[in-house]
């Protein structure tokens, strides 16, 4: 298709506009990347800046990150462990619940589904204190169960899976019954395999949220050895002396894994993120 002169002008304008916007979006990433190569005192003295100066830049921070005496990698692996456990449990349980909602008509179904939607509308923050009190009273303080349990039947994930399953032919379930499979056999052998593609999007969305989750784990965990990465990074910024070298290279290194995952699985990130926006 040939492009008229007017269309060419439009194209150039669009590309220029988005390049400029993109520049603003990417500047902080550039700043944090080059700062990871600068000594912490630079940051204290000049703040975060864009100066690319090979004279002050070195791999010292990276060497310190990998060999120094600090808990960074303990936090890193805590985050990894917690993310994996949380994603696996949340996905399995939310999918099961979603299947219950989509495959059957049962008494109280609408009421329960409204409860799912309600969760999405009540700010979780107002539950912080009573939940904190509850966790304290049942003795789960400073444990990962306190972080994982409240989120295993995740409302947004249930909602997404239910939407996905609503396109499924009912005949499939009926056929399963004719073949003599039990209700649970049908779910495990017929439905779960079909749901696989939708698991990817939800795994990534839940994984990203879990990896970056801060407030609730911050309230529950008090033992430094159990901290997750965001909490660990936050504690590097204390009123008693900020450990900028480690903070900046650690921040850089905490974005990196999720960044690489994004490059590899872009589609799933975007599917998961926009899952709730368009209905039907």
């Amino acid at each position: 298709m040939s492009v008229t002169r007017k269309e060419r002008v439009v194209r150039i304008c669009l590309v220029v506009l988005f390049t400029v916007l993109c520049f603003f979006i990417l500047v902080p990433f550039y700043a944090v990347t080059i700062s990871a190569f600068k000594p912490g005192e630079e940051l204290i003295r000049y703040g975060l800046n864009l100066r690319f100066d090979l004279n002050v830049m070195s791999l010292d921070n990276f060497v310190y990150l990998f060999t120094g005496d600090h808990a960074y990698f303990t936090w890193f692996f805590n985050s990894l462990l917690l993310t994996v456990v949380q994603v696996v449990l949340t996905l399995l349980i939310s999918a099961t619940v979603a299947y219950g909602f989509s495959a059957y008509d049962f008494r109280g179904k609408n009421f329960l589904f409204i409860c799912v939607l309600l969760i999405m509308m009540v700010p979780f923050e107002i539950l912080l204190l009573p939940l904190y009190k509850l966790i304290f009273n049942i003795g789960l303080m400073n444990s990962y169960s306190a972080i994982v349990l409240p989120s295993i039947a995740n409302a947004a994930t249930i909602f997404f899976f239910r939407q996905y399953l609503s396109g499924l032919p009912k005949e499939l379930i009926a056929a399963g019954r004719v073949d003599g499979a039990t209700e649970y056999g049908i779910y495990v052998r017929l439905i779960l395999p079909i749901m696989k593609p939708s698991f990817a999007a939800m795994a990534i969305l839940n994984g990203m949220n879990s990896w970056n989750n801060f407030l609730w784990p911050f309230m529950v965990l008090s033992n430094e050895g159990k901290y997750t990465l965001p909490i660990g990074l936050k504690t590097l910024l204390t009123p008693y002396g900020n450990n900028y070298d480690l903070l900046i290279v650690g921040s850089f290194f905490s974005i990196l894994p999720i960044f690489l995952l994004f490059i590899a699985f872009q589609k799933y990130f975007i599917d998961g993120m926009t899952a709730g926006a368009v209905k039907g």
Binding site: V10, R11, G47, L48, N49, I126, L134, Y184
Partner: protein, 297 residues
Amino acid sequence: MIKRFLYSQKVAPYVFVLPFVLVFAIFWVYPLLSSFQMSFQQITLGQDSSFARFDNYSKLLTDTVFLKAVVNSAIYMVLTLVILIPFPMLFAVLINNRLMWGREFFKSSFFFPALTSVVVAGTIFRLMFGEMEGSLINSVLGLFGVEPVKFLKGQTTGFVALLSLATWRWTGVNMLYFLSGLKSIPDDYYEAASIDGASSFQKFTRITMPLLKPVTIYVLTISIYAGLAMFIESMMLWNGNNSPKNIGLTIVGYLYRQGIEKNNLGYAAAVGIVLLLITMIINLTQLAFTGLFKKED
């Protein structure tokens, strides 16, 4: 016998949804009810509590710090709506233009900030908005001959930093929401409009905007929620829950300060209930006004 009961078609659905019922009851309903109860008590963790009637609520009404927190949260919410709905919508329409080049690259770049945790993003912005001459924003202002600004010490400039952070993190995500909405608009509509001689602006206001309404309502709903419940952004920018003269204090920040930092759980619970009421009233009004209830299911 038990097995036959559990395996029957009547009982199976309840087995499937049971995990949700349990989690909902234990981690939502119970805490929510206990939050109401706590808000009528004088309570310290690990000690006996005492009934305080409406004391917490009447104290809240005259608490100027709380009022400040509510005003901050409300202003933050309104400004994020003003910035983070029209601009992402416009960008989505522009990037969706058939003449656009490098669409996938730009989409990804816009999305990148959402990958960062608030802790990391907040730290980056705190350092960028540092008060030193050499820190990023001030060094740019310096090019225009502006003296270094102490961003995080002033009300307006503090909010500039806070809103920059929100805009940076969420423009791309909201843009993706609108893009996924645009995908569901058939091309024929635009072709028909072209034949009738409609201008691009007319197509945008007559076709695109009305058909994006469901997405807009969704974005509006989650933005109202997120705006009113904002806390960690402020905590990271000011390196703690204390900003000078409470310029960055939010409702959840105040809840956290009273409940966790001062162990004044009853009072903090009352703050939470007020937040719940504000959120529900605004969102339900908004949903009723935009007519979502009529169309749903």
